[in-house]
């Protein structure tokens, strides 16, 4: 089995490479990146004979097709802006595709590829980061056991870093988007845009996480779950997170820059050149991310000293009775699921476990065996069912 990981030297892509290299089903992992220096650091750290490094720009279709030649699946770990372009090339190469999410709006556009992928006999699973990904499977687990669904509420709880920790928890452009673009929620059966950093509520996570302040964020689960479970009558769906796993002070500083126009996509002219303020902000802040070697290092904690719990609460009816499922997926290494989920999805795609077409996770993956795969990586899922006495 040969899996191509685009952006394999990136902050999340490197974990996907590490997961794949450690899986006996995988024979070859092609680490594709533009940054060869960082690719070398990642490969040296993982130190697996399965890893092959290649440099290619996904905009160079010819070069990219060569990379895809002979691949059993392509895992796109680059920033989500490339999703549509990469899917086009994978379709042309007839290589199954997976990614880490499309931040709602791009995901919607990706789903429009369904018929073309189906006609070509190619499979694609979207939204396989930590979240989205886990909440979709948690929701599917409950949906399989409920007659109707009233609401799906997702809470992504992350152990807050030290107040003076200025680092970004994952891709700088994605976090800036999540902070500045209006989150979408499904409310009374309609998709509605809300203000960024709104809808605050405290939510109680597994110890030692405890109570964390949660707010709305734009996320892909909200784009697909209400559609996937439309027949069950779903009325409400939202995604909440606690400052994207970053220090509140850091988020407030990014917001200050955004409020003063640094998140603008309108180019500003400098003589004969032009600069997009947002691109400049991303470039200036790109140094504030953890080193890949930190991300690849084993977790500092051991279960049950959890650092992250992704919870989905699904309320609905079973045989006329109100039932609430609470699924909580726990890990001691916050970044691990983001790399592990697409890695497992890529393996399943390569094994032919997904039908041809483009699907969100809840529509094509069986949650129980998937949770079992995660369990091997110390990513534990617990379920609580609340019934009326």
């Amino acid at each position: 089995m040969r899996i191509v990981v685009l952006g394999g030297a990136g902050k999340m892509g490197c974990i996907a490479v590490q997961t794949l290299a450690g899986d006996e089903r995988v024979k070859e992992v092609v680490l594709v990146d533009m940054n060869m220096e960082q690719a070398g650091i990642v490969a040296d750290y993982i130190n697996s004979p399965k890893i092959e490094i290649m440099q290619v720009d996904v905009h160079d279709e010819e070069g990219f097709l060569k990379v895809l030649d002979g691949a059993d699946a392509c895992l796109n770990a680059t920033v989500y802006y490339t999703n549509l372009l990469v899917m086009e090339t994978c379709l042309k190469a007839k290589v199954p595709y997976t990614d880490m999410g499309g931040l709602f709006h791009i995901t919607r556009k990706q789903l429009e590829f369904h018929n073309r992928f189906q006609d070509a006999g190619v499979s694609a699973v979207l939204c396989m980061g930590s979240a989205p990904g886990i909440p979709n499977l948690q929701a599917r687990y409950a949906a399989d056991r409920l007659d109707t669904i009233e609401s799906i509420r997702i809470f992504d709880g992350i152990k807050p870093p030290a107040p003076d920790d200025e680092r970004f928890s994952y891709a700088v452009p994605t976090i800036i988007d999540e902070l500045t673009v209006e989150p979408m929620v499904f409310e009374d059966g309609e998709f509605v845009a809300k203000s960024p950093l709104s809808g605050f509520e405290d939510y109680w996570f597994a110890e030692p996480l405890g109570i964390l302040p949660m707010h709305l964020s734009l996320h892909s689960e909200v784009a697909t779950l209400p559609i996937s479970f439309k027949d069950k009558g779903i009325r409400e769906c939202f995604f909440k997170i606690n400052y994207w796993g970053m220090a509140k002070n850091t988020i407030e500083k990014i917001k200050v820059l955004a409020d003063y126009g640094f998140a603008s996509n309108e180019p500003v002219q400098f003589g004969e050149s032009s600069v997009v303020p947002r691109d400049f902000m991303v470039a200036m802040l790109s140094g504030y991310v953890p080193a890949v070697t930190d991300l690849l290092a084993p977790p500092k904690n051991k279960p049950p000293d959890w650092t992250k719990e992704i919870v989905t609460e699904i309320r609905g009816l079973k045989d006329g009775e109100e039932v609430m499922y609470r699924l909580g997926t726990l890990t001691c290494k916050g970044a691990l699921p983001t790399g592990a989920l697409p890695a497992i999805a890529a393996i399943w795609l390569a094994e032919g476990k997904v039908d041809a077409g483009v699907y969100p996770p809840e529509a094509c993956l069986d949650p129980e065996p998937f949770f079992k795969e995660l369990e091997k990586l110390d990513i534990i899922t617990r379920v609580t069912v609340t019934n009326q006495v």
Partner: protein
């Protein structure tokens, strides 16, 4: 009598031009502007036959030498980088003048100005300007002046005009050398956002956290008012303060050159250019100016504190953004009129607290709606 208003159609100084039209006895008010279209529009709007406009490029020193002669006073409302050139030109051609800021080198022309029987007053705006008169008002009531604490709240957006953005960035620049306070005969340098304390400015501004700001009052008052300690604390609206804090904490004041998108630039310059062009840096919810001066000293052997503050009409009564600009522009106009009328009998290049009779000054401010409050507390 003739007045020449440099930058007289600009964001701040157009309010000076308005004040001159409404209150002054000048026979001619010449608006010297790089943006002649803006000057002509302002003149058309104000409709006063005394107003005239002339194209003026402040970067051309020779142009100053040709333009300035014949005026009774040159009113400099240009960005502070032109302060020195304007002072030098005024002294060279023999014309009185004033401005709203202060460059240390301006004092170098003091003796020449005295020799030529001229007066030039740097810093006749809100702060420096009104604050100097406030400190003087308190100091003259004391036998000894121990401590002058000047506090301001400049409630405006970061970039209402190019010069004001430069001021905003410079005041928090980690390398700004003049951010000092004076104590025991020495100037002590302090970093940006240091010396934090809360000050209640009242009105729409209310209580705000202020920090040390580089300002000329610190330099002039130890000598002019005999103060043992002088400090200036200030703030901008909370969101602008957060911007300054963010730029500092993320190292965006860095001036190390680099190439970005084929542009040779440094971080600070890029930040400056982007802020200048951003629409979001042109707006803020409240436009106002708060000034609170506290002076500690002794009278008849007893310790006392005199607190003086300003009050002005709220923005909805005072023309929105103009509620901020007028606090700078009106003192400039008053100062020019006092010079022209002969209310200033001192000669040289002198600070406002030395040159300006604060009683006349406050009376004129009150006529325009800027009132002064005073509280004396025996300690």
């Amino acid at each position: 009598m003739k007045a020449l208003v440099l930058g007289g159609a600009g964001a701040v100084c157009s309010e000076t031009t308005r004040d001159l039209v409404q209150y002054s006895d000048f026979d001619e008010i010449m608006v010297a502007e790089y943006n002649l279209e803006a000057a002509n529009e302002l003149i058309k709007e104000l409709g006063d036959p005394r107003l005239k406009a002339v194209l003026f490029d402040a970067n051309n020193y020779d142009e100053m030498l040709k333009l300035f002669p014949g005026y009774d006073v040159v009113i400099n409302g240009l960005p502070w980088k032109y302060d020195l050139a304007v002072t030098k030109a005024c002294v060279e051609v023999g014309v009185n003048g004033l401005d709203v800021s202060t460059e240390e080198e301006q004092w170098d022309y003091d003796q020449t100005a005295k020799d030529k029987d001229l007066i030039f007053i740097p810093g006749v705006g809100a702060t420096p300007g009104i604050t100097n008169a406030m400190a003087k008002k308190a100091a003259v009531q004391m036998d000894e002046v121990d401590d002058i604490q000047i506090n301001f709240a400049a409630f405006r957006c970061p970039a209402p005009a190019p010069g004001l953005l430069i001021t905003f960035l410079w005041e928090f620049h980690p390398k700004t050398e003049s951010r000092t306070y004076y104590e025991n005969g020495e100037f002590h340098w302090v970093g940006p956002l240091e010396g934090l304390k809360d000050v209640d400015f009242g009105g729409e501004i209310g209580k705000q956290e202020v920090c040390y700001i580089p300002h000329p009052e610190t330099k002039t008052m130890p000598e002019s008012l005999g103060a043992k300690k002088v400090s200036v604390h200030g703030c901008f609206p909370p969101q602008a303060m957060n911007l300054a804090k963010t730029l500092l904490e993320w190292g965006l004041y860095d001036e190390e050159p680099f190439t970005y998108k084929d542009i040779e630039i440094n971080s600070l310059e890029m930040i400056h250019q982007l802020l200048l062009r951003s629409p979001q840096t042109k707006e803020t919810p409240v436009w106002a100016y708060g000034l609170v001066v506290e002076v500690f000293g002794k009278k008849d052997g007893k310790d006392l504190k005199i607190k003086i503050w300003t009050k002005h009409p709220p923005m909805d009564e005072w023309g929105g953004k103009a509620a901020y600009y007028k606090n700078i522009a009106i003192p400039l106009s008053i100062g020019a009129q006092m010079i022209a009328r002969g209310d200033v009998d001192q000669r040289g290049v002198l600070p406002p607290e030395t040159a300006i009779d604060q009683k006349i000054f406050f009376k004129e401010l009150a006529r325009r709606g800027i009132s002064i409050g005073e509280e004396v507390e025996w300690l």
